[in-house]
Subunit: 210 residues, 2 copies
Amino acid sequence: MTSPAVDDAYERLRSLIHSGELMPNERLVEADLAQRLQVSRAIVRTALVRLGQDGVVVHTPHRGARVRVVTDAEAVEILQARAVLEALTARQAAARATAREIAGIRRALAGMERKLADGDLLGYSDGNAALHAAIIAAARHETAARLIAGLRGQMVRFQFRTILVPGRAPDSLAEHTAIVDAIAGRDPDAAEKAMRHHLSHVEAALSRRR
Amino acid sequence: MTSPAVDDAYERLRSLIHSGELMPNERLVEADLAQRLQVSRAIVRTALVRLGQDGVVVHTPHRGARVRVVTDAEAVEILQARAVLEALTARQAAARATAREIAGIRRALAGMERKLADGDLLGYSDGNAALHAAIIAAARHETAARLIAGLRGQMVRFQFRTILVPGRAPDSLAEHTAIVDAIAGRDPDAAEKAMRHHLSHVEAALSRRR
DNA sequence: GAGCCACGGATTGCTCACAATCTTGTGCAC
DNA sequence: GTGCACAAGATTGTGAGCAATCCGTGGCTC
């Protein structure tokens, strides 16, 4: 969005935080990060400002930035917000998706089915992300897409866990199938309802693990 | 969030844009803004980075920032996103609001009623904002509140004021009354539904104006 | 030993200067 | 007059440096 150098540093920092390499609450010293990323401090600085603005990092005056800690309560909030926004995209996808997009969504679902049959839960998790992404893309709702992306950036850690809850995967697949069927059947109300149903179960799974 | 100076510049720029004093698509030259706000260019710069991150401003490399133009289609998207998020807050407010908060919400509604009776549509519009704010506060949902605030900031105030659509105000009041009654009656489902109903009408009014 | 104060190191916030890049205006060819 | 090359001006992007502030340490008082 700004300069390539800053964009790059921003993405890399985001990914370091996202992957857990920079732990929650860890102090982010500008000079250290500058050396680590091999860029100047000014670039790290503006990247941190951007990360702060989208809630991945918290700033305290004269004390710099820390990786934001997401409490369980906040994780639930984030999931609730995602739920209503993704329900909106599901609704819109049902109304707007092209035949090609629907085919892509079906392919993503089939991929998940295969991974689940193979017992590959991590692969299933990737397929899950791909399916949600395909639905969001088909909705062509820039605003919702942007907000969801921001929320996901704060959540990944938890997302990995909920997929792995024992016995959850088969239910998850059924829920996703309902969503896809509703979209393919061009039924916005059903699509929205199915997506909300799905994410409320994710929320329940998350709450149960506390 | 960062330093007081940057925070202040950020807020002031945001307000200048929101109020329409800085017009959509207007070029934002750092040096000019620095002089206008009586702060250094560096401060303006980081304020602009923050505004860029929350979509109020767009950056192009080596060409600086411009006030983002919100097309009618985008305005609809923003409203849709707000609708589902505010519906979430209405639901939560119905579940969580204290008696004191409900009293405040009722007061806000009564204020709107008065303004409408006086024929003061701009006052009614302010009351409308106050009521929504009271509901959001009562929901105690930080994440939703943050997202909604961001979305509201992207609309230039005067550009999309649907309250002024002829004949809309009385309907609007009835819709708000339904929302408040549902919250006061501790009925989350009804509150969510009433809020969505209300905002879908706002969306319809907005679409009609194109 | 506990508490308080001062001091030094570490880190951020900001200014300034300059290089990189874009934009505008001018002159020239045709 | 039109279009293009090119230089001059304007504006942003970045790096280095310094002052302000915070944190931890050690010494002093009691």
